[in-house]
C-alpha cells in the first residue's frame, strides 16, 4: 500500500466537483436506469442466473424431443399440462406447452429464488451493509431490486419463448394454431396470443417475486427466504384444492395462474384474465409495501 500519491493529497475532503460526497458536492442527479443497471450487473455476476436461463433454453428442447420420440414409439402427449397434446402437430404450441409445464411450480420457484436473493442474499454475502453505507434510499433500493427480479424473469421468458419457437419449428414446423374454441388463427395471430400469455405469466410471477422479497427482508438467509416463499405457495395451493376452502380461491393469487388459457378462447375470455391481473397487482403491491415497511425499519446486523 502506498501513501497518498501527489495527485491524491491535494484533493480535500468533498472536493470532487462531480461527487455526491462532501458538502460542496451536488446530490447524485437522477439516472433512473443507473440503479436498475447496477442490480442487473449484479445478477449477471451470479452463476445461478445462467443456470435458470439455461434451463429455460433447454426445457422446450426436452419437451420437443420427448414428444417427438413418444410419437415414434406410438405414444402421445398423454394429457398433462395444457397444449402439450397439440405440440405434435404444430411447433407453435411448444412455447405455450413449455410455459404451461413451468407455471405451476418451476417458474414460481425461479421467481422465489431471484426475489429471495435480493435482500437476504446481499445480507448473507455481507454486501448489504456496504451498499447501505451509500446514500441510497432503502425504499428506492427495494423497488429497484423488485424491478431487476422482474427483468430477470422477463429475460428468462424471452429465452423460453425463443427456444420454444426454435425447437417447435425444427421438430414439428410452424402452422396456424387452433384455439380452445376450435377456430383457427394465423401464425402471426398465434404468436401475438402466445406473447400475451407470456405477459400474463410474468404478471403472475410478480406476486411470487413480491412474496419472496418480503421473506428476503425478514431473514438474512436467501435459502430460508426461498423455502418460506415456496412453502407459503404450496400451502395456498393445498388449501384451495379443498372444496371447503372454495370461498378463498378468488382471493389468492395461485388460483389465477392457469387463467392464461383464456387467451386461447375465441373470443378471448377477458373477465377471468382481468380479475387475475387485478389480483396479481393487489398482492404484488401489498406484499411489496409490506416488504418496504419492514426493510425501512430493519436493523442490518449481517
Amino acid at each position: 500500500m502506498s501513501s497518498l500519491p501527489e495527485s491524491a493529497v491535494p484533493m480535500a475532503p468533498g472536493a470532487h466537483t462531480d461527487a455526491a460526497h462532501g458538502s460542496t458536492a451536488p446530490r447524485m442527479r437522477g439516472h433512473a436506469w443507473g440503479p436498475l443497471r447496477r442490480e442487473w450487473i449484479k445478477l449477471l455476476f451470479q452463476r445461478r442466473t445462467y443456470l435458470i436461463w439455461g434451463g429455460a433454453a433447454v426445457i422446450p428442447f426436452l419437451i420437443s424431443l420427448a414428444i417427438h420420440f413418444s410419437h415414434d414409439q406410438g405414444g402421445g402427449g398423454g394429457g398433462g399440462p395444457a397444449f402439450l397434446d397439440k405440440v405434435l402437430g404444430n411447433g407453435m404450441y411448444v412455447p405455450l406447452a413449455s410455459l404451461a409445464v413451468l407455471i405451476p411450480f418451476m417458474l414460481p420457484l425461479a421467481a422465489a429464488m431471484v426475489g429471495g436473493y435480493m435482500i437476504a442474499g446481499e445480507a448473507e454475502l455481507g454486501t448489504l451493509r456496504i451498499i447501505l453505507l451509500r446514500p441510497v434510499r432503502r425504499g428506492a433500493m427495494l423497488l429497484t431490486k423488485w424491478a431487476a427480479a422482474m427483468l430477470y424473469l422477463a429475460f428468462g421468458a424471452v429465452v423460453l419463448f425463443a427456444s420454444g419457437l426454435l425447437f417447435g419449428w425444427l421438430f414439428f414446423g410452424l402452422h396456424p394454431m387452433v384455439t380452445l374454441s376450435g377456430s383457427t388463427v394465423s401464425i402471426a395471430h398465434g404468436l401475438g396470443l402466445t406473447l400475451l400469455v407470456y405477459l400474463f405469466g410474468l404478471a403472475a410471477m410478480s406476486t411470487m417475486v413480491s412474496l419472496a422479497l418480503l421473506c428476503s427482508v425478514v431473514t438474512d438467509s436467501s435459502l430460508t427466504a426461498l423455502i418460506v416463499t415456496v412453502v407459503i405457495y404450496i400451502a395456498i395451493n393445498i388449501v384451495i384444492a379443498f372444496s371447503y376452502f372454495a370461498w378463498l380461491r378468488p382471493w389468492v393469487f395461485p388460483y389465477y395462474y392457469s387463467e392464461f388459457l383464456n387467451f386461447f378462447r375465441d373470443p378471448i375470455y377477458w373477465r377471468p384474465i382481468v380479475k387475475g391481473i387485478e389480483n396479481f397487482a393487489a398482492w404484488s403491491v401489498g406484499l411489496t409495501v409490506a416488504a418496504y415497511i419492514m426493510f425501512r425499519r430493519k436493523d442490518v446486523l449481517s
Binding site: A15, A20, H21, P135, R297
Partner: protein, 351 residues
C-alpha cells in the same frame, strides 16, 4: 483502581457538564463532524449502547477503543444508519441520524466489520459499482484509490480470490473513492501482515494530515497510540474516558527509591507525602512525587541518616494497562475464579 486511573476518570467527569456531554473545547474551535447524543441501543434485555455522548472533531484521527463486546461496532452501525437507536441520535456532518441519513451518508464512507464485495466481480468493477451509488466516479480515480491501497496490479482480478488483507485494502479503497469528509474504519488492520498494518497506519495518518477526519475503531491500543489524535474508550456500551490520546495515559509522577533502610525510609516518606503517595514494589519504595518534590525528598532521607542508593523514575503505566484497568469486569471476577476452581477440580480428579 490506581490513582492514575482515578485521576483520568475525574478529568473526564470534570469535562462533563450536567447534561453528560463532554466539553467541546477539546475540538479547539474546529467543527464537530460526528457526535452522539444519549445514543442508546437495546437488543432485548441487552443494552449494547447506553446513553453514549461523544464528539469527533474535524481533522481528528479518532480512536474508538474498547474490548470485544463493548459495543464499538453497534455504535458504528447506529452512526451510519444500519441500525436504529432505541433512543438518542447521532449527528454526522450536520445531519441528524436517523432522520437525515442520506444527507449524512453523502459525507461519510467506510466499512463496518469485514469489508465484503461481490466475489465474481473484479476489484475495479466492485469499485465502479459501489462508487456509482454515491455519484459519478472516473476510471482515473478508481486507479488512484487502487494504487493507494496497493491493489492496482490486481485491479482486474476477481475479489473472490482475494485474501482477507486484500479485502481490507479494497475496503479502504472504496472508502476513499469520493474523498469523504469522514472515513469510518472498523478494525482496518485486522488480518493484515505487519507490513500491511504499517502501511494502513501510515495511510490513516496521511489522511488525517490531508484534513480528512478518520474514525478508527480498534482494539489495538498501540495502533491508537501511534495513529490517533483523540480517542474514546468504550466499555459495556458506555464511554469510560475520552480525550486527547496524549492525555489519556495517566500522568506518571512516580519515582522508585532504594535506601539502606527501606522501613525507616518508608516512614519518612509517608510523613512527607502521605500514606496514599507511598507504596512498595519488589523491594523498592514507589513514591508519587513530581520533579519539584524529589530533591526535597532526598534531602529529608539524608537528614534522617539514610543512605540513598537509587532514585529512578517508576515505569510509566502504558495505555494498555490503563485500558485493561478501565475495562476490567469486576463483576466477572468471581465467576472466572469459580470457573478456574472447577477446572482445577476436574484436572485433579483426572490425575
Amino acid at each position: 483502581m490506581t490513582p492514575g486511573v482515578a485521576e483520568a476518570q475525574t478529568q473526564t467527569k470534570a469535562q462533563t457538564g450536567t447534561t453528560g456531554r463532554p466539553d467541546q473545547l477539546g475540538c479547539s474551535g474546529r467543527p464537530v463532524v460526528l457526535s452522539t447524543h444519549a445514543l442508546t441501543k437495546q437488543f432485548g434485555s441487552l443494552r449494547a449502547v447506553d446513553g453514549l455522548d461523544m464528539d469527533v472533531c474535524a481533522g481528528d484521527v479518532f480512536g474508538f477503543l474498547g474490548p470485544n463486546g463493548a459495543g464499538k461496532t453497534t455504535v458504528i452501525r447506529l452512526v451510519l444508519g444500519l441500525i436504529h437507536p432505541t433512543s438518542g441520535h447521532a449527528e454526522v456532518c450536520g445531519h441528524r441520524v436517523p432522520g437525515e441519513l442520506q444527507g449524512a451518508l453523502r459525507h461519510v464512507a467506510g466499512f463496518v466489520d469485514d469489508p465484503t464485495f461481490y466475489p465474481l466481480m473484479s476489484a475495479r468493477r466492485n469499485l465502479r459499482l459501489l462508487g456509482s451509488m454515491t455519484g459519478p466516479v472516473s476510471e482515473e480515480r478508481i486507479d488512484e484509490v487502487l494504487e493507494i491501497a496497493g491493489l492496482l496490479e490486481r485491479a482486474e482480478s476477481r475479489v473472490g480470490g482475494f485474501s482477507h488483507g486484500m479485502k481490507q485494502r479494497l475496503g479502504i479503497a472504496q472508502a476513499l473513492l469520493h474523498s469523504p469528509e469522514l472515513i469510518v474504519l472498523d478494525e482496518p488492520t485486522s488480518g493484515l501482515d505487519p507490513r500491511g498494518m504499517k502501511d494502513v497506519r501510515e495511510l490513516i495518518r496521511d489522511l488525517g494530515a490531508a484534513g480528512t477526519t478518520v474514525f478508527l475503531s480498534s482494539h489495538l491500543l498501540h495502533e491508537v497510540e501511534q495513529v490517533c489524535t483523540r480517542a474514546v474508550i468504550l466499555n459495556k456500551g458506555r464511554v469510560v474516558v475520552q480525550g486527547k490520546v496524549s492525555e489519556l495515559r495517566p500522568q506518571n509522577d512516580a519515582v522508585k527509591v532504594l535506601t539502606d533502610d527501606q522501613d525507616k525510609a518508608a516512614e519518612t516518606l509517608r510523613a512527607q507525602f502521605g500514606a496514599a503517595g507511598v507504596s512498595d514494589d519488589e523491594g523498592f519504595i514507589i513514591v508519587k512525587a513530581d520533579e519539584d518534590g524529589v530533591p526535597e525528598m532526598v534531602r529529608r532521607l539524608v537528614a534522617d541518616g539514610l543512605a540513598v542508593r537509587a532514585v529512578v523514575p517508576a515505569p510509566e503505566q502504558g495505555l494498555e494497562d490503563f485500558f485493561l484497568e478501565l475495562t476490567s469486569d469486576e463483576d466477572a471476577k468471581p465467576a472466572v475464579e469459580s470457573r478456574r476452581r472447577g477446572i482445577a477440580r476436574v484436572l485433579g480428579r483426572r490425575r
